[in-house]
Amino acid sequence: MSRVRILGIGSPSGDDQAGWLTVDALAGCGVQGDHELAIEKLDRPGANLIFLLENADWVILVDAMQSGGQPGQIQHLDRNQWPAYQHGLSSHGLGVHGALSLAHELGSLPSRIDLYGIEIGPANPGEQVGAEIQAAAQQLARRIAADLAATLRQDERTCT
C-alpha cells in the first residue's frame, strides 16, 4: 500500500487559494482508495514542508503560480522544470522550490513527487477566487483522482 500525501499550498489572498480549492475538491469527491492517503491544506508552510515530504512514497503538491500564462492554466512541473533556486532563504519565506531543493540535497524527497501549478493573476487579501481558478481546481482534482485510481489498479495488477 502506497503512502500518498496530497498537499494543497496557498494563502487566503484571492486566487492564491488555488491549491486549497484543489484538495477541498479531492476530499469532496471521496478519493480514499486503498492508498494510505493524507490530504492537507497548508498556508505558506516554509521549511515545515520538508517534514511533510518525509515518510511518503508519493507526494502530490498543488500550488498557485504566476508565470505570465492564462489564469486557470494547469501545469505539471517536471523536476527539471522546478525553477532554479534564486532568492536565498528566509525562515518566513522559504518557498516551495526552496524546500524541495533542500529536501533533494538531503535525500528526503519521496520516490514519486508530482508538482502541479495553477496559473493565477495578481492575488490580494480579501479578494474572491476567480471562476477560472475554481474551474481549474475542479479539473485538477479530477485529474489527480484519476491518477490515484490508475495507480491503484496498477498496484492491484502487480499484486495479482
Binding site: N48, F51, G88, S90, S91, H92, G93, L102, E105, L106
Partner: protein
C-alpha cells in the same frame, strides 16, 4: 590630485534576514561617513487592530504577529492581562507555559542556526549549499526544529500561529500518553543537541570584541524565559512596569521601525544577552558542556550568538523534560478570569530577545490602547553600532562584496525579524 570615486552597489539579496530592509554605507577617505540600517517595510498597525478587542481575543490576535515566535507574543499578552486581572495561574499552567515556550526556542533557534546563519561560516550562500557539504548537520538541525514544532503543536494544536493559550491558562491539556511520547523524543534529542553545540563551537568565528550592555529578563531561581524582572549587565534590575522609565523608543526618519535605547544608548537583547546575564542558571549538564568546550561567558563577541542559540536549545530540552516529569492532566487547564480596568504590562524572552507588552484595558476587558516592543526594534540601534565597529575592525579596504558579506553576517547574528515577511537587504556602498 586624488580621484574621488563613487561606487553604488545594489545587491538583490538577502532573504536570510526577515523583512524589508536595506543598508546604506558611505565610505569617505577610509572612514565610515554614513551607515544606516534602513527599514522600509510598511508598518502593520497591529497595536491599532487590538483597540476595542476583548481580552479573550488578544492571545490569538498577537500570535499572528510572527509565524516563527507566536508563542512569545501569546504568552506575553496573557501574562500582562493575568497580572492586571489578578489571576493566579494553576502551577500546572505555569509550568506548561514554560514548556510551550521551550518548544518555540528549540524550533526558532534551530531554524536560525541551520537555515539562516550557519551557511555564512561555511562559504555557502544558503542552506541548500550547506546541505551539500554538511548534510548530517542540516538533517540534525531539521530534526531538532521539527521536535520544537511538535512541542508547540502539543500545547497549541498547531505549530504555526498556535491557539492553545487563553488568559487564565490553556484551552486544553495534552493526554498523559502524548506527554510520555514527547518525553521520549526530548530525551532522545539530548545527545543531538549536545553534538550541535560541539559542532557550533568548532565553527571558526571572527574575533570581534565589543563593549555593549546586555538586557534580558532575570529570575532568581531559573534561566528566565516566560517571566522575570528586567535586568541589564550594568546592574539594572527593575520590574516589568518600570520599562518605560529606562528604555525609550524613537523614530528615525529613514526607518519605519522604531529604534530603542536604554539610557540613551543602544543595547543588546537576545540569546547572547541572556547567556551573558543568566548563564549561572543553566542546568548542570549544560554548564559542564560549555565549560568543556571552553565557551567563556560573558562574551563580547556577537559572532558567539550562533553558539548561544545552540546552548539555549539544550537548555530548553532539559527544561521541558524537567517540567514534564511527573506530568498530570489537570482538573481544569485554566482558571476563571474577571476583567478589570487598568494598565497591564508583560515581559518574556522571545527567541530573538526581550518582548514587552502594555495594554490599557477598560472595565469590560476591552483594549483601549496597546503597545508592543519587539526584540528586533530594540536591537536596531545596536546593529548599527555593531556594524560600524565590526566594519572598522574588519577593514574598509576590502572589496565591496566582502564588505557586504561581512555586514550581512553581522546583521544575521541578531536574527532580525523586521516583519513577518521575506525580503532582502540591499547594500548601497558609496566610496569617495
Amino acid at each position: 590630485m586624488t580621484e574621488r570615486r563613487s561606487v553604488v552597489i545594489h545587491v538583490p539579496v538577502l532573504a536570510r534576514v526577515e523583512g524589508e530592509g536595506a543598508l546604506d554605507l558611505r565610505i569617505e577617505d577610509g572612514d565610515i561617513a554614513e551607515l544606516r540600517l534602513r527599514i522600509f517595510e510598511p508598518p502593520r498597525f497591529f497595536e491599532k487592530f487590538l483597540e476595542g478587542r476583548h481580552y479573550t481575543e488578544i492571545p490569538d490576535m498577537v500570535a499572528r504577529i510572527c509565524g516563527i515566535c507566536p508563542v512569545a507574543y501569546q504568552v506575553t499578552a496573557a501574562q500582562a492581562l493575568e497580572r492586571l486581572f489578578g489571576v493566579e495561574l494553576d502551577p500546572w499552567a505555569q509550568a506548561m507555559r514554560r514548556v510551550f515556550y521551550c518548544g518555540e526556542w528549540i524550533q526558532s533557534h534551530s531554524l536560525h542556526i541551520h537555515l539562516l546563519a550557519a551557511p555564512d561560516f561555511f562559504g555557502c550562500s544558503n542552506a541548500i549549499e550547506l546541505a551539500r557539504i554538511a548534510p548530517d548537520a542540516v538533517r540534525r538541525g531539521l530534526r531538532i526544529q521539527g521536535l520544537g514544532n511538535e512541542l508547540m503543536d502539543l500545547f497549541g494544536a498547531r505549530s504555526v500561529h498556535p491557539v492553545g493559550v487563553r488568559v487564565g491558562g490553556f484551552h486544553g491539556a495534552p493526554s498523559l500518553a502524548r506527554i510520555r511520547d514527547m518525553r521520549e523524543k526530548l530525551r532522545a534529542a539530548l545527545p543531538e543537541a549536545e553534538a550541535l553545540i560541539r559542532w557550533a563551537a568548532a565553527i571558526p568565528m571572527p574575533q570581534d570584541d565589543q563593549a555593549f550592555v546586555s538586557v534580558a529578563t532575570q529570575h532568581p531561581d531559573v534561566y528566565a524565559i516566560e517571566h522575570g524582572d528586567i535586568g541589564a549587565s550594568d546592574g539594572l534590575r527593575i520590574g516589568v512596569d518600570a520599562f518605560d522609565e529606562h528604555f525609550a523608543e524613537q523614530h528615525e526618519p529613514y526607518s519605519t521601525a522604531l529604534f530603542s535605547t536604554y539610557h540613551q544608548r543602544p543595547y543588546l537583547v537576545g540569546p547572547l544577552a541572556r547567556l551573558n546575564l543568566n548563564h549561572g542558571h543553566l542546568p548542570n549538564p549544560v554548564q559542564a558542556l560549555i565549560t568543556n568546550i571552553g565557551y567563556a561567558l560573558p562574551s563580547r563577541n556577537l559572532f558567539h550568538s550562533l553558539l548561544a542559540r545552540a546552548v539555549e536549545i539544550l537548555l530548553a530540552l532539559h527544561e521541558a523534560l524537567r517540567l514534564l516529569d511527573g506530568y498530570r492532566v489537570p482538573d481544569s487547564p485554566w482558571v476563571p478570569v474577571t476583567p478589570r480596568a487598568g494598565v497591564a504590562t508583560g515581559c518574556t524572552e522571545a527567541p530573538r530577545g526581550l518582548l514587552w507588552h502594555r495594554y490599557e484595558m477598560d472595565d469590560d476587558g476591552r483594549v483601549i490602547n496597546a503597545r508592543i516592543v519587539p526584540p528586533t526594534s530594540q536591537n536596531q540601534a545596536r546593529i548599527e553600532e555593531d556594524l560600524r565597529l565590526s566594519l572598522l575592525n574588519f577593514g574598509l579596504d576590502h572589496p565591496d562584496d566582502a564588505l557586504r558579506l561581512h555586514c550581512e553576517k553581522v546583521i544575521r547574528n541578531y536574527d532580525p525579524c523586521i516583519s513577518c515577511a521575506t525580503h532582502f537587504l540591499r547594500l548601497n556602498v558609496e566610496r569617495a
